[in-house]
Amino acid sequence: MVGPVSIPGGGVLRELADRLPLIEVSSGLSERDATILWDLRMPRVVLGGLVGAMLALAGAAYQGVFRNPLADPYLLGVAAGAGLGATLVIAYLPNVSEWPVDPLPLAAFVGALVGVFATYTLGRAGERSRTASTLILAGVAMASFLTALQTYVQQRESDTLRQVFAWILGQLTTASWREVLLVLPYVVVSGATIILHRRLLDVMTVGDEEADALGVDTRRIRLLIVVAASLGTAAAVSVSGLIAFVGIIVPHTIRLLLGSSYRVVLPLSVLFGGTFLILADLAARTAIAPAEVPIGVITAFLGAPFFLFVLRRSRTIS
């Protein structure tokens, strides 16, 4: 509950309590401070928590279904697709205010889904022999292709560069309750779907053939998890831009500290991912206040050394 504008802590707590049903407390905050707290700071914290939880959960799920520790939620073209969608809107639809809905998140969302869908369709080329790695390779190819298109558009419309980069670096600067309501349903549905499959993900760690032999339909589960994780990621990306690193670092930190069973990793990813991003955003808005640091810079700057530290410690323990 800290930010560039200092608001007394007691007042913050009373104001928040006052918002709860059936409770009437006078917070003693000025109208302006109350507005700042409720309309600007709270939605930002909540959105950060949702986005962080979703990215960490999706990252953990991807790592599970692909049995690849480097998998992150952006693996299958989500990021590149969303980036292309956002760039197209920034470059060619400048007068967004005339639209009933803001086309930027919408285009990013659609772009992300198109990216994943294209990857999945392309990866189907070798239907019989398709394995997790075929999909990953298709994802890499698709991402390169979409990024090339995005870069082309961006170079053609060079006056939009700063906006595009600001979007790509990720931000929660303009978060409002509207964005929270926009992503909430996706995060809930896709989060629940992934967490309900936590035991099957544990089974799949033994390998496709073995899992199949145990009666698990690996292909169907993988499709389901990928769709759920991608949908959630696409929604998160559409409101926050491409916030790097959360999807990789959070699940691995949990694995290193608390074990690698998905029954542990998935629920804790929600918790840790949300917390991590809320703290990162806190740093983003206070480090050089009242100026902002792009949150993607913070997640990597704080996240990478922390992760290396955990990695070293767990090595010395085992």
């Binding site: 930010g3 560039p4 504008v5 109208e31 302006r32 507005t35 700042i36 309309d39 600007l40 700071r41 939605p43 400048p94 007068n95 967004v96 205010s97 005339e98 170079q155 053609r156 060079s158 006056d159 939009t160 560069l161 700063r162 906006q163 600001a166 931000q171 600067t173 303009t174 409002s176 309750w177 808005r285 050089i288 206040a289 009242p290 100026a291 902002e292 792009p294």
Partner: protein
């Protein structure tokens, strides 16, 4: 030889030459003759004859060239140049300059604001001089660049007239406000994610000449003239005036600003002092900064009138 030397000296001691009051008529009298030498950040360039096929890769340079009367010497301007309307816009890109495409216009001078040493070298192989005029950081830079363009294109006295007229008009506009704007604060918005400009930038000078205080100066610690502000800080800072340089890029207006959560509390929104700007005028450092200053002065006058 001595003329070249004097021009060189002139370029070195620019402020002295560009201030007509100190050395009246010193430059204009003599130098519509060629060759001329002009200093740039990438070393000095020599222009052998009066250029007749100028390519401008910078929207600001395009505006300046037409202002100093070199318009009919311009054969091609880049894709971002949209003023004046008669400028020969092409699909040349300053951002991704293609030397062959530039050369196809057979230029004898290329003017750019972001050209690199590489581009200069490539053009040099074709004996095409490249005049670099990077983004100005002060009004004086603008005047210097206009004078340079006058020298480079053989329109020295026209350029001096333009500069003098700009100085006069700026003095008038600033004088009309006097010290009335002291104590008023403003926020200049570059895009709808709250990127802004501090007083240390060219944009900042447009407001600081009136004595307006910039709420972004609190963010100087960001180490950039163009920081991104937190929404809550802007609401708390409660600026008296909001200037929108994102009306074209991002479709922002007084209505969209008023509709942002929490922004309804800001004085500028409540007092109807959210001023839309033309994105292009507010991002270029050419002759139209005078119009920009006028817009700012009008906004201050309107606000003060409404308050009294």
């Amino acid at each position: 030889m001595s003329r070249r030397l004097s021009l060189l000296l002139c370029a070195l001691l620019f402020s002295a030459c560009a201030t007509p009051s100190e050395e009246p008529e010193a430059v204009p009298a003599q130098s519509d003759e060629f060759p001329v030498t002009i200093d740039t950040d990438l070393g000095s360039i020599e222009i052998q004859e009066r250029p007749e096929n100028i390519v401008s890769l910078s929207p600001t340079a395009t505006e300046m060239l037409f202002a100093v009367g070199a318009g009919d010497q311009v054969v091609a301007v880049d894709d971002q140049s949209d003023f004046p309307p008669e400028a020969p816009t092409t699909d040349l890109s300053e951002f991704e300059p293609n030397v062959e495409a530039i050369a196809s216009y057979d230029p004898d001078l290329v003017v750019t604001s972001g050209g690199t040493a590489d581009l200069k070298r490539s053009l040099g192989k074709l004996d095409i001089p490249m005049l670099l005029q990077p983004a100005a950081t002060t009004f004086e830079d603008t005047f210097d660049q206009l004078a340079d363009l006058g020298t480079a294109t053989g329109n020295v006295s026209e350029a001096a007239d333009v500069v003098e007229e700009m100085r006069d008009r700026i003095d008038d506009i600033v004088g009309s406000i006097g010290d009335q704007a002291e104590g008023l604060t403003y926020y200049h918005e570059l895009d709808d994610t709250y990127f802004t400009a501090t007083s240390e930038t060219f944009i900042g000078e447009v407001y600081s000449v009136f004595g307006l205080a910039n709420i972004a100066d609190e963010a100087k610690g960001a180490g950039t003239g163009y920081p991104q502000l937190s929404a809550e800080y802007i609401v708390e800072a409660d600026p008296d005036l909001i200037f929108l340089a994102d009306t074209k890029c991002c479709g922002q207006s007084a209505e969209t600003v008023g509709a942002r959560p929490g922004w309804g509390q800001i004085a500028a929104v409540q007092e109807d002092a959210v001023v839309p700007l033309d994105d292009s005028i507010a991002s270029r450092w050419g002759p139209r900064i005078v119009d920009y200053l006028e817009t700012v002065a009008d906004a201050v006058t309107d606000l003060l009138a409404a308050r009294s």
